[in-house]
């Protein structure tokens, strides 16, 4: 997989991916960046640094919350988890996305 495959990530998409990554358990920033790569089969490569502004934005919007804790390697790390609002947002966006991508698929295949 080369650099050319790297897709530009729209801001909204990144937000949704983060919410999705946090769906099952709280994670720290490093963990989230790993999960993002993993979830997209390495297609979506987020530059790790740009993850943080997005995280802070989501915290500000009240969709996720953060807490200082200890990582699996006994390091101090900040863990992020979904808030109730975040979970609702994720559901809504997932539904939206499903509709939108279905529509796009239809358009592209039909052509």
């Amino acid at each position: 997989m080369g650099k050319d495959d790297k897709t530009d990530l729209l801001q909204g998409t990144l937000d949704m991916l983060i919410l999705r990554a946090l769906q099952h358990e709280p994670m720290h920033g490093f963990g989230i960046s790993g999960r993002l790569r993993q979830m997209s089969d390495e297609v979506l490569q987020v530059e790790q640094g740009s993850l943080y502004p997005a995280l802070y934005r989501l915290v500000d919007q009240g969709l996720i919350k953060s807490e200082w804790g200890v990582s699996e390697n006994n390091r101090k790390a900040r863990f992020y988890s979904l808030t109730a609002a975040g979970r609702r947002q994720l559901d809504a966006e997932t539904a939206n996305w499903a509709k939108l991508s279905a529509a796009i698929n239809l358009v592209l295949r039909g052509a």
């Binding site: 920033g29 490093f30 790790q48 500000d60 919007q61 390697n73 390091r75 900040r78 609002a85």
Partner: protein
């Protein structure tokens, strides 16, 4: 998410910035370490692992900056920054800032305090239910003067008016309340028993019954007295207290808002008049009447019916033709027209005062904006939008007005405290408690803020119109001195200051005239004046003689005299006698009964004949001393000494003629005919003792008191004061008017001077180059100085003219309040104009001096 939460979070982000930075750095370092560890696990060597981690993370500072941007909450943060900048800018010109704050504080403080007072005194509604049904009853005697009613009048009138409504009578008195530690003089009213129910007074405890309970007179006391003397004891109702040395029983305590039926007054005791009668008291004319009309009854008809009942055979003589004999005054209902007009006048005055203080600040802002043009141009050139610059100016204005308003509130509170003290010290009858009126405070603070914002906006407009390159290149303003707005502001300020200052000159002259009025005695005598009620069973003439002898023996006492009443008091002086004028209508004259030493001790001038002597006492020839006015009325040019006059039906020989005296406490009134009768021949009850002291009369008071107490253990003192204090009371209205207008006028001029100074100072700064050129071309320093002074005079010229016109209008309006000064008094106008010119010159002096110090070479090279 709610807007509130957003704002809160963003506000928090303003203050938690350092913590945010630390945590962000921690978190990112942590991330790098984890990546590095992961890379090592994947088989990289340590150095390579660290570099790879860095690469994978991307630009750390870029990420941090992006995160910061995320949090920035535009407006709030900008505001905070503007605020910090505003504080710095204000601190940069501490003089102008201080002046602005002082102006605003004075404007807001003074107006709020004065108008809270006016509002309380004029507009505060009475707490009585259905006040529009309540009327005061006024009647005039056959000479057109207002009369006080007798109890007989009450009986007759309440019968005549029974079908129209109910009448109640009351009379203000001092009462003696016995307390464990001595006696206390209280102000109260002796009233008809229906009085309190009629006005609708409500109680916190008990009722308003004022009859006899098991033969004991009932009293109702004020909330103030209950709190002060009975420590708010709930058991007060039914308790026996001693009033005027008689047992009374308390039937109720009034609510705190029931002070009296007159404004400002707080009376402590209400007692049934009928329970207090002693022989002959039904004829004492000491009562005021208040009437509650049945709904739908016309006051005019009632007044006619009441009037008819007291006139005619056996009653009073009719009032002169053309004068309404009896009138009902709707003094308790709040007349809306009156209120609207009064309120409008108040607001207009308030706005004028505020205008002066605001104009000053606006002035300063405008001048500064001129000077700061370059700064604004620079900021706009560097990319900040005009709105950002305008916002900056608005914030500075807002900050100034907030600080000024805060000081203004403090000032207003202090002023009100002081005003309450002063007014209540006039007489113990007053119980004024003016509080800060928050509506008025809101109005003045709002007006100030609005004025400041406008003033702030004017420079902003200037900014919008700026031709940047021109301003940046020239660095100095154009030659024009000040805009029309500044001129208008200064003219307005000057006009108002001149008008108020002119009034001050008017009132000061009036005060001096009033102070120079000889009130029928020598105002410079050092006398102790005491109202006393003798307790011994002596006739009051004997009592006065014996007490006088004992007091005269005290060290430091030069002389003692007694009289029935104290000159220059409204009520005690209300006594009248009827004097038959040979060949004319009988004349109602003021009267006093005085002891033998009275004229000597008081320093009353005898213009002819002699005063009273001990031989004029009971049994001798009936005599009288008359005032010059009466001598003129009765005898024309003839010598009255030895002539006879019929006074209240008794023939008396005139032994002397004294100087004239004003008829009441009002020094402005013209003298009226007056009669002195010897004390021993006519006199009873309370009396006034005058003790002349060799030195300070104050210091004599304790020894005089204890000597009198030894002589008569039952004596009651109602009032002990010096003659000076008594005179000050009579002079109070004149003094207050002079004081208030002088203060306001000086304040106005001070503020005008400050504003003018600011404007001229900036003008000189800006014209440094022009002045330099002039001086280089040969203008000498005197010419330059005169140029600045002339400019100052020109600036105020229109304001001065307008101010004199305003003054003429105001002087006409206050014509009746001023003693012996014409509304067109040339001195008043001359002094006010001269003061304005002086102020203009004084304000211009420093800027002018500064202009002359400009070094032409420096000024030209500075560019």
């Amino acid at each position: 998410m709610s807007i509130l939460r957003t704002v809160l979070r963003r506000l928090r982000s303003l203050f938690g910035r350092r913590r945010f930075e630390d945590e962000m750095a921690d978190e990112m370092r942590c991330h790098l370490e984890m990546q590095e560890a992961a890379n090592r696990t994947a088989g990289m060597d340590p150095d390579e692992a660290r570099c790879a981690a860095r690469r994978q993370f991307g630009h750390i500072d870029g990420a941090k900056e992006a995160a910061r941007d995320q949090r920035r909450l535009g407006l709030v943060e900008d505001l905070a920054r503007d605020l910090r900048f505003a504080v710095r800018m204000l601190a940069k010109t501490p003089g102008a800032t201080a002046l602005s704050i002082v102006s605003i504080a004075l404007g807001i403080g003074a107006t709020t305090a004065l108008f809270s007072l006016a509002d309380e005194v004029l507009f505060n509604p009475f707490p009585f239910p259905k006040p529009h049904e309540l009327y005061n009853v006024y009647a005039r005697d056959e000479h057109g003067r207002f009369v006080r009613f007798t109890w007989r009048d009450y009986e007759v009138m309440s019968q005549a008016g029974a079908s129209f409504g109910q009448l109640a009578a009351s009379s203000k008195h001092g009462f003696l309340l016995e307390r464990p530690d001595g006696e206390e003089t209280l102000a109260g009213r002796a009233v008809s028993s229906n009085m309190l129910t009629l006005i609708g007074a409500r109680t916190v405890l008990g009722g308003t019954a004022l009859g006899l309970a098991d033969g004991v007179p009932q009293v109702v006391i004020s909330h103030r007295l209950w709190r002060k003397d009975f420590s708010s004891a709930p058991s007060i109702v039914g308790r026996h207290i001693r009033v005027n040395r008689r047992d009374c029983v308390v039937s109720g305590v009034l609510r705190p808002d029931y002070g009296d039926i007159s404004r400002l007054m707080v009376l402590d005791l209400w007692i049934g008049a009928e329970t207090q009668f002693q022989k002959g008291q039904k004829d004492v004319d000491d009562y005021e009447f208040v009437m509650r009309l049945n709904p739908g009854v016309r006051p005019r008809a009632v007044a006619a019916a009441l009037d008819a009942s007291i006139r005619g055979p056996g009653g009073r003589r009719p009032a002169p033709v053309g004068v309404p004999g009896t009138r009902l005054g709707a003094d308790y209902s709040m007349n809306w027209t009156q209120k609207a007009i009064g309120g409008g006048v108040l607001l207009a005055l308030l706005s004028l005062l505020l205008f002066v203080s605001c104009a000053n600040v606006a002035q300063m802002k405008l001048a500064q904006a001129e000077a700061r043009k370059r700064e604004f141009a620079m900021r706009i050139a560097l990319g900040s939008g005009p709105w950002a610059v305008a916002r900056q100016l608005l914030i500075e204005a807002g900050l100034l007005s907030t600080i000024g308003a805060a000081w203004g509130v403090l000032l207003a509170q202090g002023l009100l405290y002081w005003l309450n003290l002063i007014i209540n010290s006039i007489t113990p009858w007053f119980g004024l408690q003016v509080r800060l009126d928050w509506d008025i405070l809101g109005f003045s603070a709002g007006a100030t803020a609005a004025a400041l914002l406008l003033a702030g906006l004017a420079p902003a407009r200037l900014v919008m119109k700026l031709d940047l390159t021109q301003v940046l290149q020239l660095g100095q303003g154009t030659g024009r001195t000040s805009g029309w707005l500044q001129r208008a502001l200064i003219s307005g300020q000057t006009a108002i200051s001149v008008a108020i200052f002119g009034l001050a000159v008017l009132f000061l002259q009036s005060f001096h005239h009033a102070a120079a009025v000889r009130p029928g005695f020598d105002p410079d005598k050092s006398l102790l004046v005491m109202n006393v009620a003798p307790g011994l069973g002596l006739s009051s003439g004997d009592w006065a003689n014996q007490a006088g002898e004992r007091l005269a023996a005290l060290p430091g006492v030069k002389g003692v005299a007694a009289a029935r009443c104290l000159p220059l008091t409204g009520s005690g002086n209300g006594q009248r006698v009827s004097v038959d004028i040979p060949g004319g209508a009988p004349l109602a004259c003021g009267v006093n009964s005085v002891g033998p030493n009275y004229f000597a001790v008081m320093g009353t001038r005898l213009l002819a004949g002699r005063g009273f002597e001990p031989r004029d006492a009971n049994g001798g020839t009936a005599v009288a001393v008359i005032s010059r006015e009466l001598a003129g009325c009765a005898f024309g040019g003839r010598d009255p000494i030895g002539e006879w006059l019929v006074i209240d039906g008794q023939k008396r020989q005139i032994t002397g003629v004294t100087e004239d005296l004003p008829p009441s406490a009002n020094l402005h009134e013209h003298p009226q005919p007056y009669v002195y009768l010897p004390y021993e021949q006519k006199g009873h009850g309370e009396l006034v003792l005058f003790v002349e002291a060799a030195q300070m009369p104050d210091s004599l008071a304790p020894s005089v008191r204890s000597e009198l107490k030894r002589f008569d253990p039952e004596i009651a003192f109602f009032q002990v004061k010096t003659l000076r204090q008594h005179l000050d009371f009579a002079l109070f209205p004149d003094r207050a008017a002079a004081l208030v207008t002088t203060t306001l006028g000086s304040l106005g001029f001070l503020l005008t001077a400050a504003g003018l100074f600011g404007v001229l100072q900036f003008a000189v700064n800006r014209r440094t180059r022009e002045i330099g050129v002039r001086m280089a071309l040969g203008a000498d320093r005197r010419e330059v100085r005169w140029m600045i002074l002339r400019e100052s005079l020109r600036t105020i010229a229109w304001g001065l003219v307008l101010g004199l016109v305003l003054l003429a209008m105001a002087a006409r309006f206050f014509k009746s309040a001023v003693l012996d000064v014409s509304p067109l008094d040339p001195w008043t106008y001359g002094i006010s104009a001269a003061a304005a010119v002086l102020v203009a010159l004084a304000a211009a002096w420093l800027p002018a001096l500064r202009a002359t110090k400009i070094d032409p070479v420096e000024a030209l090279r500075a560019e």
